[in-house]
């Protein structure tokens, strides 16, 4: 096959997967041009990603919840509440940070599991049970912050999670050396993983893309990783928020695509009855998915509290809707069974880019909401149309 026709058919077959990346690229390019390059500056991109972190981790968990045909509206105030608990433990009870974080994460799992029990065992629709939980957490957040109002957190290690950057071990031409090294390692790992994947396929005598296409893919992705690294290295390097988010994405991507648990989650999402008759414990999967959602809500609360260096009475407001929007923009299907963790992250970055770009351009907040709403609708329309074409 000719190089270009092969590239074209690959693009056509995977248009749904690539659509989001293309959309992100177009949005970023547009803002970069309109702001004379201000948008793509190291400082802005770094801020943008840091501000996305606490929504991105929620979007990861929400992806799985929507994949198994449920929804969780409680994650925003759950995050706010658990962030406040973390602040109280650190500031008022004097619990050290290395204990606070695991305790909050476990608390998140327990809270999530509780939702899971209501949904899977009692049989309450997730929309209703999580709406109830949302009200409860909102009240709980007000209750714990009632006497003191905003709780200031002074723990430096904790606050670094939301504001800090990886330690500097030196600079090369104004760029953070550690970040450059990490970027290089990621590229090396990516190239190694892709080559061994290809080798394995050849060993099984399966069809693989031609050498040129394969090389093009390696070079293309490597350049993107290198470019992002270069941009971030120009402004303090990788932040802890970005590192934590990437680790969460990596773990969940692996879980969902490579493990038995992941397959079971998608099986439950695409047909719960069939999953049960296939020997999959649907209840258990529901507990796990809601438990993971709770844990990620806790993480989101920690990141947000650390970013503000304080817990406020309104922390977490509307986080759940941002997370849900990110998941849908990222290609998750409301009908269940379809959706990728990586897609939702891109969805979160798309939404954050819109906000950031429009802020730089001085677009009024009223128009910002309308435009973000339109983008959400467009993303879902695109998804529906491409799905029909394939079906």
């Amino acid at each position: 096959m000719n190089f270009f026709t092969e590239a074209k058919t690959m693009l056509k077959q995977n248009i749904r997967d690539y659509g989001m990346y293309i959309a992100l690229f177009v949005i970023m390019l547009t803002f970069t041009i309109m702001t004379n390059g201000l948008f793509i500056s190291s400082r802005n991109i770094s801020n943008l990603l840091d501000a996305t972190g606490y929504i991105a981790v929620l979007a990861v968990g929400m992806t799985l919840v929507i994949v198994i045909r449920h929804i969780d509206l409680s994650v925003g105030f759950a995050a706010g509440f658990m962030g406040a608990i973390a602040a109280i433990m650190l500031s008022q009870l004097g619990v050290p940070v290395y204990l606070t974080i695991p305790i909050i994460l476990v608390l998140g799992i327990v809270i999530g599991m509780f939702n899971g029990v209501l949904v899977a065992s009692v049989g309450i629709p997730a929309f209703v049970s999580s709406l109830a939980a949302m009200l409860i957490f909102r009240g709980a957040l007000l209750q714990v912050t009632e006497k003191t109002g905003t709780i200031i957190v002074r723990d430096k290690a904790f606050n670094a999670l939301g504001n800090g950057y990886l330690p500097s071990i030196g600079e090369v031409g104004g760029l953070s050396l550690l970040s450059l090294i990490i970027g290089a390692l990621v590229i090396l790992y990516f190239v190694y993983a892709e080559i061994s994947k290809r080798r394995n396929k050849i060993k099984y005598k399966f069809e693989v893309p031609s050498n040129q296409i394969f090389a093009l893919k390696l070079v293309f992705v490597s350049i993107i990783i290198a470019y992002v690294t270069w941009i971030l290295a120009g402004y303090n390097g990788f932040s802890w928020t970005v590192v934590i988010t990437l680790i969460v994405v990596a773990i969940y991507h692996f879980l969902t695509t490579k493990t038995v648990l992941g397959r079971h989650i998608y099986a439950v999402g695409s047909n719960p009855e069939a999953a049960h008759l296939t020997g999959i414990n649907v209840k258990k999967i529901t507990y796990i998915v809601f438990g993971s959602m709770g844990m990620l809500s806790a993480l989101s609360g920690i990141l947000y509290t650390a970013r503000l260096q304080s817990a406020t009475t309104t922390a977490g407001t509307l986080f759940e809707l941002d997370a849900i929007a990110a998941a849908y923009v990222g290609g998750v299907s409301a009908a269940g069974g379809v959706g990728k963790v990586t897609g939702s992250i891109i969805g979160a970055v798309v939404m954050a880019s819109l906000s950031s770009g429009m802020n730089l351009l001085g677009v009024g907040i009223s128009y910002q909401y309308m435009i973000r709403g339109a983008v959400l609708a467009l993303a879902v329309i695109f998804d529906v149309i491409t799905r029909k074409k394939r079906g």
Partner: protein
Amino acid sequence: MGGSILDKKNGGSAKRADGNILEMRGISKNFTGVKALSDVNFQVKKGEIHFLVGENGAGKSTLMKVLSGVYPYGTYEGDIVYEGTVQQFGKISDSVKTGIAIIYQELALFPDLSVYENIFAGNEVKRGGVIDWNETIIQAREMLRKVKLNVNPETLIRDLGVGKQQLVEIAKALSKDVKLLILDEPTAALNENDSENLLELLRELKNQGITCIMISHKLKEVIAIADKATVLRDGRTICTLDGSKGEITEAAIIKNMVGRDIEDIYPKRPDKRIGETILEVKNWTAYDSELGRNIVKNVDLHVNKGEIVGIAGLMGSGRTEFALSVFGNPRNYKLDGELFVDGRKRNFKHTSDAIKAGIAYVTEDRKGDGLFLIQDIKSNVSAANLKGIAPGGVINDNEEVKVANDYKSSMAIKAPSVEQIVGNLSGGNQQKVSLGKWLFVGPELLILDEPTRGIDVGAKFEIYTIMNKLINQGMSIIMISSELGEVLGMSDRIYVMAEGRIKGEIAAEHADQEKIMQLATQ
């Protein structure tokens, strides 16, 4: 424009002479490069019952969708001449206006509305723009009388059985002054009694001058009531058989459908080696707390190694419920009695326990609760045995493709690749994927629930052949089936169920249709 008027006139005079209500001329239809219909010619005389037969994918449903306007004028080639006029249906309501009604396999009723609301849904009886419910009920009673359905018109659809729902659909069509009634596999989901009733009703409608086109895989009913039968194969008209000339025979239909003779519908299994008992249930009772009654009652049954045990009976006789209660009890019935697998008393808490003990259950409703329709072939095949491709919990994608490819070729699953989405496959191929999924688990006992429902003759033969191969490899099979021919042709031993009880056990060599039906209707 002038040309088309001329066409109509010509068509008109010609049609009245030969008595055709419908003539489809040179119909061709493409789906993005795939030719679904090519140059199909199809003529239906007024007042006849005309069957459309053919294997799955032969183009029967597509042809009917062209006729009813689901595929509008302009998306196909050729002419539809209906009642002497060339029709250009742009949407379904256009064909409805001319008296064409189509009833699909999946009924299009509103389960939570009453019978009368359903009959007049979309065709409400109005007075001054307001629905006249009293008049609606009166007219609904009249329609129900016509289809001989003796139910209160205020009954909710969900409280009716499938057979009665089918009749409501027909009543709905009659309320619109239907002239040409199209039924797409109306008896596929019906038991023998309900099927009989339906066929009887069609005969009566015919006497009232209603023309009927019916798609069916059940050759017996074709032979029983067809005036004509048109055979489609690979999107082409093969022939039209005339019942009055005695041309409609099982052999003739099958030969034209598959393009070759099928010597025997049920492949022989020469060397039978029946071993020791593998499954036994004693005094097995299942209580459904939602229905508030026992759905399986004091069942004693056993299955031996290397045996195909048929479970015959009418729909609703508790066969599927029995199978589910044995297979890990996914519907949470209250169980009583004893279950032995390989001589060990077992008490399965979950379907996964039953699977571990070597039991597999291929469901009756493969689309509803059997397959993951939005996933591809390979994910479906591996779903019940992911450990088999995931050493240490990490899935080996290549191994998965290899396994799926093996089943694809050994069972002749027709698909471009194992990455094909299962929802896009034909019924027969979907069933093979279902089978492949369970064979990959390597069970000792395979429970097949209606294994060939909605599958064409060729694919049926292939499924039977696979069953025999499995038996020869030492597997045992329980086959639940409403098709008596299949039960008689494939089983070594037959249990007949009715009202949740085993009414009798017959060795295959002593069984015949009458004996089974007699027990099933006790």
